[in-house]
Symmetry: C2
Subunit: 230 residues, 2 copies
Amino acid sequence: MKIYKKEYPTENCFISNHCLPEWLPAINANKIIYEVKKGEVIFTEGTEVTGIYFVYEGNVKVHKKWGNDKELILRIATKGGIFGHRGLSSKSNIYPISATALENATVCFIDLAFFYTTIKVNPDFGLKLMLFFADELQESERKMRNLAHMSVKGRIAEALLLLKEKFGEKDGVINITLSRQDLASYVGATYETVFRTINELVVEKSISLQGKNIKLENMDVLKNLTLQAS
Amino acid sequence: MKIYKKEYPTENCFISNHCLPEWLPAINANKIIYEVKKGEVIFTEGTEVTGIYFVYEGNVKVHKKWGNDKELILRIATKGGIFGHRGLSSKSNIYPISATALENATVCFIDLAFFYTTIKVNPDFGLKLMLFFADELQESERKMRNLAHMSVKGRIAEALLLLKEKFGEKDGVINITLSRQDLASYVGATYETVFRTINELVVEKSISLQGKNIKLENMDVLKNLTLQAS
DNA sequence: CGACTTCTTGATGTAACTCAATCCCGGTGG
DNA sequence: CCACCGGGATTGAGTTACATCAAGAAGTCG
């Protein structure tokens, strides 16, 4: 993980969008910008929390291990997003999750002490962060229920709709590079099952493939698969 | 849900423990105390968020529906605990979950506007609430991973250890009344599977039964069942 | 004492995991 | 330039954990 040379504006990221304008110079003085290569691990579950990160460019997956060879992807942080905040806790200062770049990325690091100062000095930022946590908790618990009660097919359908929502589409194709393995970890299923299910969806003309990328062809059918929820 | 007649001290609950002492009178002026009967629904998923609740007495389950006849219990709020805070969100003001009393309970209601005022006026409270959300998010995501990768037996073992941790024990027996159906919803499995698994654990002498209540006999074995998780 | 949940157990079905074999394709070195 | 190699993609077959269904037993409450 290399420290980036060039000056990079701290704009349009979670912290800059919610803090007071006069606080921006302080952030600029305290931030460290890193360049990260595709597949590179930014921090690892179980290590000490040193600070919080923001994404300038690229996508970063936040994932949690199970044993040696299994994982669950909890979330993908994208441009402007925050990550590493799951390390905040009243009980421990150990990251409960790892973060890995899905593609070459530029991220911004803010150390913990300064981050806490930011919260205290910027009341609005603290409130926004709290609401952000609340939103993530809702999201997490929705996924939890889906994991408990929904079929793999339904979970994949939902994941695809969500990914399209979040990352948009380019020529109808979901605008994110995600390996089948990562998709499997994202929906909590095995590689093979995801593979077969994707094929089913193609046969049923709910989606189509452009190489490895996925295009949603019939969102209504996909939505039907996710029904019964709420 | 009846409004309670008697005066009840707002002490040793989440809000009073973290706000400024001089703020307590304001809380007392704004709170409404309800008495709730076992099995009574306090609020329902999908309805408008009107405020936040605290538990004075009894246990309250927070759960999320799936279709008509399935649910997942996300959490059990106990004496002093907060619930309904999952309704906080930057996007919606609809409860994503329901809350139901597991036994006769006394709860305290604070309306949303006053709650937000409390956050703004008590900086420490806001921070604590944020950290509380962060802790819950960690917890939620741990459970999510378990749901994805752990067996029902492991999840039950973990749930029992957690319940013991949280509710303590009386004569060695976990000090909470939880129907098998609720336990099933808590670990995300069916009634029958939970029933059989509990029996297995009894045969293996990891736990024993006192009526419907559960006593942990061999915590090490239970812990082994939950292993592989970080 | 009868109606009504809740418990208990067996039998059966099946979604999804696991393991393994083959295929495909890009890269690499001879 | 082509043969070789390795790793991901693809497919098949077997296994299993768990859900589902069904039906009897046993509590429980009016």
